[in-house]
């Protein structure tokens, strides 16, 4: 009995000593679970799977490989899931990963609804969330969070890029063909504001259901408006079918077409004879300079196509996150966010990019024009950079923001 008591006492003393020792070591170099775990939830099988999807996941893997697969001897792991464009799936997957899989940072691929849902979960769990391919500017405005970074572009930047430049080039009268849901309507509204601010007018708009089967009647209505510019506030398959029908019905000879959300994959599908002359705004193009070309070559070797701006952004975001973890020696959400926000981003994706207090990654955007078949020398040689839109002008300003963290 006595002996047991003494043993107990020794045990308690020992454990107290261990605890004290644990407290006295600085909480610096700590990588939770001894691995840096990156998760990515995106559309792998639906309408957005070409612009991000498996190509985007491959880009993240390239970043991990370039980092050497480990940080200070701690392994970097990567997992991917398909949200099937359903916000509820995205949110529950994110929750499961944070709680059970020990994911330290989550990349949200495409789809605004899914990203807004994931941002909420990440904020609750105090983990870094980087939204790449979703358009909605709400991520860093009304619904901003201290743990969200919005990386590649947003609807505001698209509107300011294409809208302002086309008005300045003489396209004063606009008519909109708009996808009838949150994304299309906010894109139309943002662009309308820009057009009016630059002295242009909007003659009207027609709202089509998402995934409409035929666009010819909408286009005839646009044609009879006699506007100079047809603004396409839709995306993906809707955009492709609108342009195809515009060409078939001879609209392209009378009106200028402005694509408000266009990815290089859309141009690849439609081909240059149909799309030549089209104006669009994008964050990145593979053939802009030596850095972009070097990275694109590596990507091409793996995927057999040129990367979209989103896939380049996936790489850049993962790389900058890993660099931040390496610099401060921890994957703690708050500390990594602080590090990310004070580090300029300089890589093949962005020059002098910075993450603002509202989470917006501000970088230059580019107004592109699609080349004519004669100008294009090779497959995927599609764009001419017409103008660079400085980041400060492209995104929501401090005066406009509704984000409390940036007031």
């Amino acid at each position: 009995m006595k002996r047991t008591k003494r043993t107990m006492r020794t045990a308690i003393a020992l454990s107290a000593a261990v605890c004290a020792a644990g407290l006295s070591t600085p909480v610096l170099a700590q990588i939770s679970g001894d691995t840096v775990k990156i998760g990515m939830i995106t559309d792998l099988s639906g309408v957005y799977s070409d612009i991000d999807g498996n190509g985007g996941a491959e880009a993240v893997r390239m970043a991990i490989a370039d980092m050497g697969g480990a940080i200070n001897g701690k392994k970097i792991q990567f997992i991917v899931a398909d949200h099937q464009n359903k916000p509820d799936i995205a949110a529950s997957k994110a929750r499961e990963w944070f709680d059970q899989q020990g994911v330290d940072m989550l990349i949200g691929g495409t789809n605004s609804g899914a990203s807004l849902a994931m941002a909420k979960v990440a904020a609750e769990k105090k983990k870094v969330f980087i939204a790449i391919g979703s358009g909605t500017a709400q991520l860093t405005n009304e619904q901003c969070s201290p743990y969200t970074v919005h990386y590649a572009y947003d609807t505001v930047a698209l509107a300011r890029g294409t809208g302002a430049t086309m008005v300045k080039q003489g396209g004063k009268n606009w008519y909109f063909l708009t996808a009838d849901y949150a994304f299309g309507q906010s894109l139309e509204k943002d662009t309308t504001d820009v057009i009016k601010a630059n002295g242009g007018t909007v003659l009207g708009s027609v709202k089509h259901p998402l995934g409409a089967s035929d666009f010819s009647s909408f286009l005839l209505q646009a044609q009879s408006s006699k506007a100079q510019v047809l603004g396409l506030a839709n995306a993906g398959g809707d955009f492709i079918n609108s342009v195809k029908a515009a060409k078939e019905f001879g609209l392209t000879s009378k009106m200028k077409i402005a694509g408000l959300l266009v990815f290089i994959n859309d141009i690849h599908t439609l081909g240059l004879p149909t799309t030549q002359g089209l104006y669009l705004t994008d964050a990145w193009y593979w053939d802009m300079n030596n850095d972009t070309r070097t990275w694109a070559r590596k990507y091409f070797a793996k995927m057999k196509k040129e990367p979209s701006s989103l896939q380049a952004a996936d790489y850049s975001a993962a790389m900058n996150y890993l660099n931040a973890v390496k610099a401060i020696g921890t994957d703690d959400g708050d500390k990594v966010m602080a590090q990310l926000k004070k580090t300029k981003i300089n890589d093949m994706f962005a020059k002098n990019g910075e993450i603002r207090p509202d989470g917006r990654m501000v970088h230059d955007m580019y107004l592109m024009q699609v080349k004519t078949p004669a100008e294009s020398k090779a497959p995927w040689d599609y764009y001419k950079v017409v103008a660079t839109i400085p980041g400060a002008q492209a995104y929501t300003t401090k005066a406009e923001t509704k984000c409390a963290a940036w007031k």
Binding site: S45, G46, V47, Y48, S49, D50, I51, D180, V206, K207, H208, P209, G211, A212, S213, D214, S216, S217, F218, L220, Q221, S224, G236, G237, I240, N241, K244, A245, E248, F249, G250, N265, D266, H268, T269, L270, G271, T274
Partner: protein
Amino acid sequence: MQIFGVPLQAMMSQLLLGLVNGSFYAMLSLGLAVIFGLLNVINFSHGALYMMGAFAAYIGVTSFGLNYWMMLVLAPLIVGVFGIVIEKTMLRWLYRVDHLYGLLLTFGITLLLEGVFRSFFGVSGQTLDVPEALSGATDLGFMMLPNYRAWVVLASLVVCLATWFTIEKTRLGAYLRAGTENPKLVEAFGVNVPLMVTLTYGFGVALAGFAGVLAAPVINVTPLMGSNLIIVVFAVVVIGGMGSILGSIVTGLALGVIEGLTRVYYPEASEVVVFVVMVIVLLLRPAGLFGKSLA
């Protein structure tokens, strides 16, 4: 002159465009009606086979150097043969059980086909050019009608009417109809009923393939193009009356026109109007406009 605030010219062009879209509905719902009428199978894979027809045309033209006209014949044949394989190996075992099993099987086939095409081609889609002879547009006075769209209406009308004539007015059609009413009796007369059923299924899905080829130059060819359309086409079949051949043709064209008018007056509702019509028809005539009364 204006009709409810829309100029007459604009109205006429919208009606014509509605007719073009109606042609696709007519052709697809006709195939469904033939299959349902003679096999009692709800062929959910119809949309996927339509997609397959479009892809067959695309692959034939871009990879094998064939032209559009050859593919207009070849693609339906390929899809038809594929359908026959499905019928021979899987579908035939389900005739005796509930409709639901056929529906589930063909739905599974749809998912499978879409998945296979998606893994090869991605989802952005492929483009097939309008054939040389049909490019350009004709000035109709009230609108410029692309020649290809006119061809779509013509081709689908010919195919639909020929099908209707064959089934309703010829001896072969009479065998078919008799075979579905009482297969035992017709077999007793020395008619090979299983073969007839197989060929009917092949023909029905070949119609979907044909519609796919017709659609390929005007819409984005993607693995999901069938799923987008098939639900509307099912609604058309329900409105026309399950299994009614003439019903599906007339309803298909009429709904295309109604949809076209909606695009002018209330564009946001244009993808829903077909279902609104379906609800009204089901309330007033549960068997469909051309269907035999259920009672």
